[in-house]
């Protein structure tokens, strides 16, 4: 069944500082489709246009030319269309904890739903649900967000966006600056939201390993254009194309390549520790303790 995409860009262009000596084309003819329920990672070096791209997806930025369509309708066509998109396409910026501003965790999470003109009861349900999604216990709702740890603040900021129940959740480097336990926690929360609501999730990241582990589809950007789009295994098999654009393949992929070069016939796509382990153990053959 070929469903139409929930979010689509058509020849999207964005030029910063047009007409000045600093003019930069940040996005060049970007054609992108995001389908309902997809788990997508967007990767690219700093300056590749990824942050500019995602800010167009919920109407925060206006295209210099081209269009952004949400459920087939141009989000720039009217103020109403843009507002509608902003409620359905949620965007979490990098280091979102810097956006917290309210007196209590509850009020901060409630900000979005309140602006959607929901009733007080509906707002309450949204806040508690969102807090649950990100693992913030009810006992923290009355506290000041500024007293909490960095990891907790980040979760609260994400809850503030989830409370709007977006159908597309976009996160810019959600794991930046977190320690391994923190990273796993946040990823679990995001995947939990995806599973329960069927929302599409788009994660912008530098970490090839994080993208590899969680995405079904990877979009690679370089200098304002999409240069690769496919499943992780496909993308990582093109390692020699990734280095010139400031990216790298995951450590495990490099290891598998090295093993093959040494004459060890590692089969299949390898980009996680689990895959590497399985691929090596498959070669352990004959009489081993398998």
């Amino acid at each position: 069944m070929n469903e139409s995409p929930i979010l689509k860009t058509e020849k999207l262009c964005h030029v910063y500082s047009a007409g000045t000596p600093f003019e930069t084309a940040a996005l060049r003819d970007v054609d992108l489709e995001i389908r309902r329920g997809e788990l997508v990672a967007v990767i690219g070096h700093t300056g590749s246009g990824k942050s500019t791209l995602i800010q167009h997806l919920n109407g925060l930025m206006k295209p210099t030319s081209g269009r952004v369509l949400f459920e087939g309708a141009d989000i720039g066509a009217s103020k109403q269309a843009t507002k509608n998109a902003r409620c359905k396409v949620g965007l979490v910026f990098q280091y979102p904890e810097y956006q917290l501003f309210e007196e209590t965790v509850y009020k901060d999470i409630a900000f979005g739903p309140r602006n959607m003109r929901l009733s007080a009861d509906d707002v309450d349900v949204r806040v508690r649900e969102a807090a649950r999604f990100v693992g913030i216990g009810a006992e923290l709702l009355g506290r000041s967000p500024f007293e909490l740890s960095g990891g907790q603040k980040r979760r609260i900021a994400i809850a503030g966006v989830i409370a709007m129940l977006p159908q597309v959740l976009i996160l810019d480097e959600p794991m930046a600056g977190l320690d391994p336990a923190g990273r796993d926690g946040i990823m679990e929360n995001i995947l939990g939201y995806h599973e329960e609501t069927g929302a599409a999730v788009v994660v912008v990241t530098h970490s090839m390993e994080d993208a590899a582990r969680n995405a079904e589809r990877m979009i690679v950007m370089s200098r304002g254009r999409i240069v690769m789009d496919g499943a992780p295994g496909e993308i990582f098999s093109r390692g020699d194309e990734l280095s010139p654009i400031g990216l790298d393949v995951p450590v495990m992929t490099r290891l598998a390549d090295r093993l093959r070069a040494m004459g060890v016939p590692v089969k299949g796509s390898v980009y996680t520790v689990e895959q590497a382990r399985d691929a090596v153990l498959a070669l352990k053959g004959g009489g081993g303790a398998c």
Binding site: D179, M262, L281
Partner: protein, 287 residues
């Protein structure tokens, strides 16, 4: 300043942050003893809240211990008369490049420290050029910092510290906000400081792969030092690292899993090259 003294020596250091309300203060450092030899590269790892950043800020007196003492090249950080000299000898680079750049022109930002130290104009020029060349940003000396990438900005921040000709540089998660290329650029400079200038380098990080390049790895947990040794001795302790909220580099994790499954492989083959060779040899031993 004592050239032969450890670059940094912490003696039974305790520290706590007072809270705004009546709740009891939070103990962040609970009796830390650490001595860092000059000319070495030490990585300090730990989960968020382990005290590693707080410890880093003691190294040049940004924070003063509540109990115990900290000496930089033999100088007591609590002695106000020595603060300027200590800060000249021990520089710090932080996570967010934007918070460390004050000027609109790259070379003016790098000149900030030598200017404030009262250097002669010719000397300032010399130091700025030297620092920018060390970080491979000399060609950008007349640029506006906001036009640069994160990695480039971080290199400017490092140059700003190097213009003081420190003997020790403490990096507090310097690559957290950078992409892989930016991270590689910064790591290259760290190693250059140790190898070409003989400086002492202290790196606070979460990234296991970065710590693998260090001479010594110190792991902190709950305000104390939990593990201390060369990378090859620390990273194979996969279970222990997991219990401390950290993980070993992926190569080590893989070797650990393969060992569990019965393959005869060492746990200390950290690099991709070493790890691949270890796996190849392990498979051959099966035959």
């Amino acid at each position: 300043m004592d050239e032969n003294a450890p670059a940094v020596r912490a003696e039974n250091v305790t520290y706590f942050y007072a809270s705004a309300d009546d709740t009891p203060p939070r103990d962040v450092l609970c009796g830390v003893d650490l001595s860092i030899a000059p000319g070495t590269f030490t990585a300090i790892l730990g989960r968020n809240g382990s005290g590693k950043s707080t410890l880093a800020k003691h190294m040049n007196g940004l924070l003063l211990p509540k109990g115990g003492a900290v000496y930089a090249f033999g100088m007591d950080t609590r002695d106000e008369a020595l603060t300027l000299e200590i800060r000249r000898r021990v520089g710090m680079v932080f996570q967010n490049p934007d918070n460390q750049i004050v000027s609109n022109v790259v070379e003016e930002d790098v000149a900030f420290a030598p200017e404030n130290l009262g250097c002669e104009p010719a000397e300032i020029r010399r130091r700025v050029d030297e620092a920018l060349k060390l970080v491979d940003m000399y060609d950008y000396r007349e640029y506006a910092p906001h036009l640069l990438s994160g990695g480039q900005k971080q290199r400017i921040a490092i140059a700003g510290v190097l213009a003081m000709r420190p003997r020790c540089v403490v990096f507090d998660e310097p690559t957290a906000m950078l992409d892989p290329r930016g991270r590689a650029d910064v790591m290259k400079i760290l190693l250059r400081l140790r190898d070409e200038l003989g400086d002492t380098v202290v790196l606070i990080t979460h990234h296991m792969e970065e710590a693998a390049a260090a001479d010594r790895v110190v792991v902190m947990a709950d305000g104390r030092i939990a593990l201390d040794g060369p990378p090859k001795a620390i990273f194979p302790q996969v279970e222990k690292l997991r219990s401390l909220g950290l993980s070993a580099p992926e190569t080590t994790e893989l070797l650990y899993e393969l060992r569990q499954a019965g393959l005869d492989v060492p746990l200390d083959a950290l690099s991709v090259e070493e790890c691949a060779a270890a796996i190849r040899d392990g498979l051959q031993k099966q035959k």
